[in-house]
């Protein structure tokens, strides 16, 4: 059992009268893949966006090693270290190279790093193609390669294989596996549970604003390294 890298506790969020999240608890650990299930509209995306520091929860704490902190003191840290991937990734108006380079700070190694990312994502053939001309599967590969270049501590993926044909799905899953092997903490939200059978370590379920194991019982699940 290892110490979780990020431990979220008691996340609550309401949109008007509707309380999407009541008291959600979830942990992320290096090299560990969490699969989060839940019906459409159960609040999966909201939870992921909160965890990535993109949205403010109504309440909740996060602990990344120094004891629990209230939200306003850690949202910047979350933004810096946790990367969120949209279900349909946004491509900047430019070629593949430009989109990859966006994840990099200015530096001398930019060319080498982009070349490595092109190779990693199998995108060499389309390096100079406009990113918006790519197919859905290619876009997902580009988004993953872009995230890979950014080197965050954790990646949160919103329905990464939705609306994909089988070939694109296999490539995407291969890339996800390689991310996990490189030691990233992964959180995948999906309702196509069986796609990720060979990938996840822990399976959680979001329902009624709370997180439980896929077999619903306890409130908190400690994520165990496999």
């Amino acid at each position: 059992m290892t110490q979780a890298q990020f431990r979220f506790t008691g996340i609550g969020k309401a949109f008007g009268e509707r309380r999407v999240l009541k008291a959600a608890n979830i942990d992320l650990s290096a090299g560990c893949c969490v699969l989060l299930s839940g019906r459409n509209g159960s609040g999966k995306s909201t939870l992921l966006r909160i965890m990535a520091g993109m949205e403010k929860p109504d309440r909740g704490e996060v602990d990344f090693g120094g004891g629990p902190l209230p939200w306003r003191r850690c949202s910047h840290y979350l933004q810096q270290h946790i990367l969120y991937l949209h279900q349909q990734p946004y491509m900047f108006d430019g070629n593949v190279r430009y989109n990859l380079g966006y994840a990099l700070r200015r530096g001398r190694d930019k060319k080498t790093l982009i070349a490595a990312a092109l190779h990693w994502g199998g995108l060499e053939a389309m390096a100079n193609a406009p990113a918006r001309s790519l197919s859905g599967g290619e876009r997902q590969r580009l988004a993953l390669a872009r995230a890979w270049l950014r080197r965050p501590a954790a990646m949160l993926l919103d329905e990464p294989t939705a609306n994909m044909d089988i070939e694109a799905r296999i490539t995407t899953l291969a890339l996800l596996r390689s991310l996990k092997e490189e030691g990233y903490a992964l959180l995948i939200s999906s309702h196509d549970q069986h796609h990720f059978d060979d990938l996840f370590d822990v399976r959680l379920h979001l329902g009624d604003g709370r997180i439980g194991p896929a077999r619903p019982s306890a409130q908190r699940i400690t994520v165990v390294r496999s």
């Binding site: 966006r49 990535a52 993109m54 933004q79 810096q80 990367l83 969120y84 949209h86 349909q88 990734p89 946004y90 900047f92 108006d93 966006y102 994840a103 700070r105 406009p130 918006r132 001309s133 872009r146 995230a147 950014r150």
Partner: protein, 233 residues
């Protein structure tokens, strides 16, 4: 009374001969209007971004206000600043009436609402994921804003050209605030008004040709860029 063709021929000759008075007027027009654009644009784009990106009380009211300011006649803007800048007005001590600075101020007031309204709708039309993707890929707020501006650059160019088109061609505020002083505040539109009233139609047409050529080439350029972008996809 000269026929139209002869007037146009004379006008072309004036332009091609490099008539210094004519080109001086053109230079003043550009100096004043470009300065106004230079000052107004950064603030206008920031305002437009804030209106599109943040939710705050009075936001909708401000959006409505800027769109309705679009249709205020230049003369009214001119009159307002005339009363403010006149020696007896509240800002009279600045001694700005009948200077290029006064013209610049009037033109800023004229182009600002256009810049805000058009940039705002461009920002509004942009996918929310653009901002989120930029931020999650490590861009700070400033870099993310510049990324958004790059994403909507054609909308912003259109806003810039529309705003520039309005102020380079407006006569009301320049006439009132600049006073149409030769070699100093006489710009293309006030000169056209004057030359027309003096019956010097060739000069007026020559300046009109300059304005037309300018707006035509700018519009053509913009369309060309946009088409290249469409076919590039």
């Amino acid at each position: 009374m000269q026929p139209l063709t002869e007037t146009i021929a004379n006008a072309t000759r004036l332009l091609l001969d490099g008539n210094p008075e004519l080109w001086g007027i053109i230079a003043i027009s550009f100096r004043v209007s470009l300065t106004a654009m230079l000052v107004a644009t950064p603030f206008a784009i920031l305002t437009a971004f804030a209106l599109a990106h943040f939710e705050f009380p009075g936001r909708k009211l401000l959006v409505t206000l800027f769109s309705s300011l679009l249709s205020v006649p230049a003369v009214v803007v001119g009159l307002t600043f005339y009363l403010l800048l006149s020696r007896q007005g509240p800002l009279g001590d600045w001694k700005l009436l009948f200077t290029q600075t006064a013209m610049v101020i009037g033109q800023i007031a004229l182009c600002f609402p256009i810049l805000v309204a058009m940039s705002h709708s461009a920002f509004q039309a942009l996918d929310r994921r653009a901002w989120e993707t930029a931020r999650t890929l490590g861009a700070g707020p400033t870099r993310a804003l510049f990324t958004l501006m790059r994403e909507i650059r054609f909308g912003l160019f259109a806003a810039l050209f529309a705003a520039f088109g309005r102020i380079i061609a407006e006569v009301g505020s320049s006439m009132m605030l600049g006073g149409n002083i030769l070699h100093y505040t006489r710009n293309i539109p006030t000169a056209i008004a004057l030359e027309t009233s003096r019956g010097e139609f060739a000069q007026g047409i020559a300046l009109g040709i300059v304005l037309l050529t300018l707006t035509f080439s700018v519009t053509a350029l913009l369309q060309h860029l946009q088409q290249r972008r469409m076919s590039g996809q």
